[in-house]
């Protein structure tokens, strides 16, 4: 039996925006979210500020979440996951378990918005010693501390005065298998560097990079202020070793602008870990029988190459970081497009 309902898998930024758009277009959506609340990674990893407009992440996510929760056209299933999936475009049957109960739904189209997870720095081929040294942390660890306005060295609870970001950890690396650029880490590190300089005014903050990829407006909105106003030091040449030195960390690399080796002592080292497909993205892609690319992300673009939200199966769409590294702007834009395509798709089969 054909259905006009649209299933949205994932209640993060892309899933919430897709649900909101489906509702605005007069469609009906069921959102299934594995956690007990909406908000996705910005919420679960306690993001501090968003890169655009420096909005408080919780506030911005709550704005979206309440729009979804309060919509008469959207039903949200919490603590829910897909258990079975069959059918074809316009007539899919999905078995879910929501809050311990099994349910079956008939839907006309699906939007996959299952997101990403951060690269595990333990897998890095360089000696970054994330699991050995307390003061080697990731951008997500730092984000939580920035949100609390209490950045400390985990080893001793003291305020760090010398902080280094190491870019491209787990990205652009053939050996690791993540050959792609994770797109957001340059912007996120620069944003966090600004927040560090605001929160710890006597700190020295360094970003060691291969090349800064501040696409679009991140250049004037984040990168330039970081350097010009907040005096963040950008050094070309990425770090390849983090070694203990007293109770500090010795970072070693090459300053490629100077063609000279560098060995500099830091209090805190922040790894700019990239994006990988989340466990949910991998599992859902399998259950739905949609193609994944060699990195495990949902393959988007279809055969035309000009439809960034289509998947290999008609009636199934993808939005956000489930199809590859994506910032919030990209995710929202894709979510809107996926919603439009899904609504059009169910209207076509219902007609």
């Amino acid at each position: 039996m054909t259905s006009g309902k649209i299933l949205i898998i994932g209640g993060g930024p892309a899933g919430m925006e897709a649900a909101r758009c489906v509702a605005e277009l007069g469609g009906e959506a069921i959102v299934i979210e594995k956690r007990g609340r909406l908000g996705g990674t910005p919420d679960s990893e306690r993001y501090a500020k968003l890169t655009h407009h420096w909005r408080d992440a919780s506030e911005a996510m709550e704005e979206l979440a309440s729009a979804v929760r309060n919509s008469a056209n959207v039903e949200v299933k919490y603590l829910a996951e897909v258990k079975g999936f069959s059918g074809s475009d316009g007539d899919f049957t999905v078995e879910i378990e929501a809050d311990g109960k099994a349910e079956t739904h008939n839907v006309g189209a699906v939007i996959v918005a299952t997101g990403f997870q951060h690269f595990d720095p333990g897998r890095a081929t360089q000696y970054y010693n994330y699991y050995s040294f307390a003061d080697v942390i990731t951008i997500s660890d730092l984000e939580k501390m920035l949100k609390e306005n209490k950045v400390v060295r985990p080893s001793n609870g003291e305020t760090p005065k010398r902080i280094a970001f190491i870019q491209c950890v787990g990205s652009r690396d053939r050996q690791i298998g993540n050959e792609y650029c994770s797109k957001v880490c340059c912007g996120v590190a620069s944003k966090q560097a600004i927040e560090l300089r605001e929160q710890i005014s006597d700190s020295k903050v360094f970003i060691f990079y291969i090349d800064m990829r501040m696409y679009g407006y991140w250049e004037p909105e984040i990168y330039w202020p970081a350097q010009e106003k907040y005096k963040v030091n950008f050094v070309k040449g990425v770090i390849s070793e983090v070694l203990p030195k007293g109770n500090q960390l010795l970072i070693r690399g090459e300053d490629t602008t100077m063609s000279r080796p560098m060995e500099v002592v830091m209090d805190l080292v922040v790894l700019s870990v990239g994006m990988e497909p989340s466990a949910g993205t991998r599992a859902v892609a399998q259950q739905l029988g949609i193609k994944q690319n060699k990195y495990g992300f949902v393959e988007a673009g279809g055969t035309s190459g000009i439809d960034p939200v289509s998947t290999s199966r008609p009636g199934i769409f993808v939005a956000g970081a489930a199809s590859g590294p994506s910032d919030l702007d990209d995710s929202f834009a894709q979510a809107g497009l996926a919603a439009a395509r899904a609504v059009a798709s169910v209207r076509r089969v219902m007609a």
């Binding site: 350097q227 005096k231 030091n233 950008f234 050094v235 602008t257 100077m258 080796p261 560098m262 060995e263």
Partner: protein
Amino acid sequence: MAVKFKKTTAIELEHAVIDGVDISGHWSRMFEQRVIFEYTPELIEKITGLPDAESFANCYQCAKCVAVCPVDIVGDYGPRKLYKHAQTGTDLMKSPDLWLCTTCSNCLRVCPKEVNMIKIMPAAREQAILDGNFVPQELQDAFENTAKSGNPLGQPQRKRDAWIQSAGVPVPIIKDLARPVDVLWYVGSYPSYHPRNIAAAVAAARIFSVLGIDFAILGKEEKDDADTQRLAGEKGLFEMMSEYNIQTFNKYEWKEMVVTGPHELNAFKNIYPKFGFEGSVLHYTTFLARYLEQLKPLLKHEVKLKVTYHDPCYLGRHNEEYEAPRKLLEAIPGVELVEMPRNRENGYCCGGGGGGMWMDSFSGQHIKMRLSDKRAMEAASTGANILAVACPFEVTRFEDAVKSTGNEHVGVLDILELLDRSMRGE
């Protein structure tokens, strides 16, 4: 007995020759590269904290400036490098690099981040002077001469208008004239005093006279504009001199001021207004180009020369006058104008600006050839017989340079001298 062993200190020579043996290449790799043990953002902030020097913080190391920096072309320099050196331990205010910039503005022309060395350098130099850091002696002398005598050459004030005796035409002094004039001609220190530059002043006087221009000069009341001293770091001296000059300019009635030199143009047109001066100021090339149709019939004699024109930084890039000098040269019958590869907006610097005029011995220790030498070679390579200039700094610099680079066959003349020749047929 322990062998005495002295470790060799690290060197970073690209080409090393010791006692006639070339040890370049892999030999020198036996010496370790110096490790960067510390970054020094505080040395960047020391500069960005100075008034008007904030833009030093903007450099993102794209290095567009380096390729067009005239000092880098004959050495190892450029704003990008200054930033990086500050980040890795060099205090610019104590480095010889502080004195090498000629404020030619070619870096700023190409800089995507608007790092403004024209503002940064004077600020950093001023601070270095205040801190009692090293200042090249020649530059100190120029400062002292200006303070004592009113001109960087150290010539007596009472002889400032002595040159008019050789003009062969009346050169009225505005004080004696005791009436308003159309044009106040600010002659400038070098055309007033320097034996070689007086020729341009004399030529200008004759041209103005033939054209029937109602002009006068300040005579013994004229003092150096001191803007180049400001760019070299002596802001206090500049303020003193500019105050005197503005008072002097305001004593008389005139419609327009014409200057012989581009540095004076920049001073009176762009800098003095910040200190209260009001008035229309023109470089002589712009002024004479206005009289082009009247000039043409007066340029009676053919001057059969292949001429290449050097754009002065302060006439071109700083004040965007590229066409008037060329129009004047093209109006001279017989002149064939050829361009050097670097011209107009990308014109190469003679090395005289920003105090470079007074630091040739010092900067010579930090570059492989003078900028004027480099430019003289470029001029010679066009096949020109004459290198035409429009800035008093340049005549002597380039006459020296054509000799030191073996290009004596290339003459150096101010455009004024060429116009005068064509009028008089010498």
